[in-house]
Symmetry: C2
Subunit: 360 residues, 2 copies
Amino acid sequence: MRTLDVALGSRAYPIRIGHGLLSQAELIVPYLKRPRVAIVTNDVVGPIYLEALSASLRDAGVAVTPIVLPDGEANKNWETLNLIFTGLLEARCERSVTMVALGGGVIGDMTGFAAAAYQRGVPFIQVPTTLLSQVDSSVGGKTAINHPLGKNMIGAFYQPKLVLADVGTLRTLPIRELRAGLAEVIKHALIRDAARVDWLEANMDGLLACDVDLLAEAVEWNCRIKATVVIADETEQGERAHLNLGHTFGHAIETGMGYGAWLHGEAVAAGTIMAAELSARLGMLSAADVERVRRLFARAGLPVAGPALGVDRYVDLMRHDKKVEDGRMRLILLEQIGRAVIRDDASLADIKAAIAACSD
Amino acid sequence: MRTLDVALGSRAYPIRIGHGLLSQAELIVPYLKRPRVAIVTNDVVGPIYLEALSASLRDAGVAVTPIVLPDGEANKNWETLNLIFTGLLEARCERSVTMVALGGGVIGDMTGFAAAAYQRGVPFIQVPTTLLSQVDSSVGGKTAINHPLGKNMIGAFYQPKLVLADVGTLRTLPIRELRAGLAEVIKHALIRDAARVDWLEANMDGLLACDVDLLAEAVEWNCRIKATVVIADETEQGERAHLNLGHTFGHAIETGMGYGAWLHGEAVAAGTIMAAELSARLGMLSAADVERVRRLFARAGLPVAGPALGVDRYVDLMRHDKKVEDGRMRLILLEQIGRAVIRDDASLADIKAAIAACSD
């Protein structure tokens, strides 16, 4: 088992990474105020992992209340959140209960926000079961639900007491979701660690084959990169924006295609290639660098070109993205492989050319 | 104008207290990140004060979005909270918007929670328009909404940037609500400041006549007492419980009569007299002290006896109150006039006798 400490002062917490952690209650028990947990999961993950986690906790003398939500981003709303509160209240859970999020990003976001708000805040533990949530939402403390007028509009910054990333759960993850998670993995290496780009080139096949040792190593260094960036910039003013590499282009793809048609990671893959192409046009990357980025996403089985929305539609959608400030487009680009940079001086012509070069 | 600084470190904020503050935008403008506010009020307070506040802010160059909610505790729920989020999103309010709560405790609680959750947190300012909210919710940072299965079950600890307590607004407050606010004022003096008990005896008539200078003085020392208690015990483990004097008995009255039949302050008045009576039975207060407490509430026009629920029903309801721990009843009593104490050693017989002596 690997352990990474996320050093956030009084809100510091460990991420434990390994295989088969989910049924080891002794990893969880030391973090409980009282032997009482509510496990929030969904109707896809629950049938696979809820019993193993619950049984292990019950054997350790912990009272368990399961709360099973309908799966999917479409349910990341108030009505579903309220099912959590109702479940907690019906089970007479007090402020000393610890909430456990068992699932992917949606379950983590909703459970985290429910924990932040239930009786004005109860502790929570994350047990992420997708690669994306293991490498992304394990660090950062962002929780939220959607509003009909906007995604993630209602939420809180709220840190877990513990993250238990059991890479064994990735073996039951649909391959398309594993690939989408790898998009964020590649992105982390590109913005911060050129040596990990080499490592990914060497180990991509093993990752796709769900080699648990490689997956655990990947989750660890990804969480480390994200933690480094987040801790340096907890209030999200500067450097943390680097994590948005490929996201302004990617959001245009997601919105243009209708949310859900492309997975977030798929859009980030194509968007990151556009960002790399634009970086080359601004004289920062070589053509060989761009090709290297493209090939890495291709090996992960991710899209390497955006959909044919038309260049003007892309630009229009990008302008509506929240990262656009005062009319200038603030983009995260690559200064070199392994180092991101914030630029707001790309010309519209160059942006359009980059999109055209990297979309169908 | 009086100013009290609530010293909560990086979350410190001032309470400004006076008459006619509501139309002085220059008091608010320095606390805005951008000249953009959303004022949340209800359909009772709004028609009286919204225009004065809005016009003053607009004259100062601030863009104002009004959001008017239906009045009443029955609306302190998710559906009404969501009207705030919808209003903010429809007006395209960004993270730099400042929310302003214009109204009593319900508006303050809901706006505060909405501010805590909107885009994971935007600044907010309180403009309390009831005596209860001026002396109580101005300090403490508690925000919440109700759930069908419990009051204040969903919320956040979230501090305002500024509280503007315009005592002029108390002149339009229904007299019954003014009296209910005075119950908390008396309670604050009883738990912490014997000299203010004298002051209340000397000035009760002026307070009831809405003398703005007396009201301003009362709001200031009440906020100071509450701030002292809250700052000493921000996480609500010990001393802060003193603020619950009369509340365990009072909650029994509120619940027993059905929420809304008795105002909270009315129940606290009768409950505090029961607590004083029990304190006398435990040898802490004299019979004259109890009579003095009773007379003070009577002069404020508040109930001095609980309703005829029957002693056993009182005890049953008190046991369900959240302040009961491990079967022992933890009660806030008076060691002397002006000094509260936490006791869990009152016998059931004494508790019943105190209730019987102070109820119809």
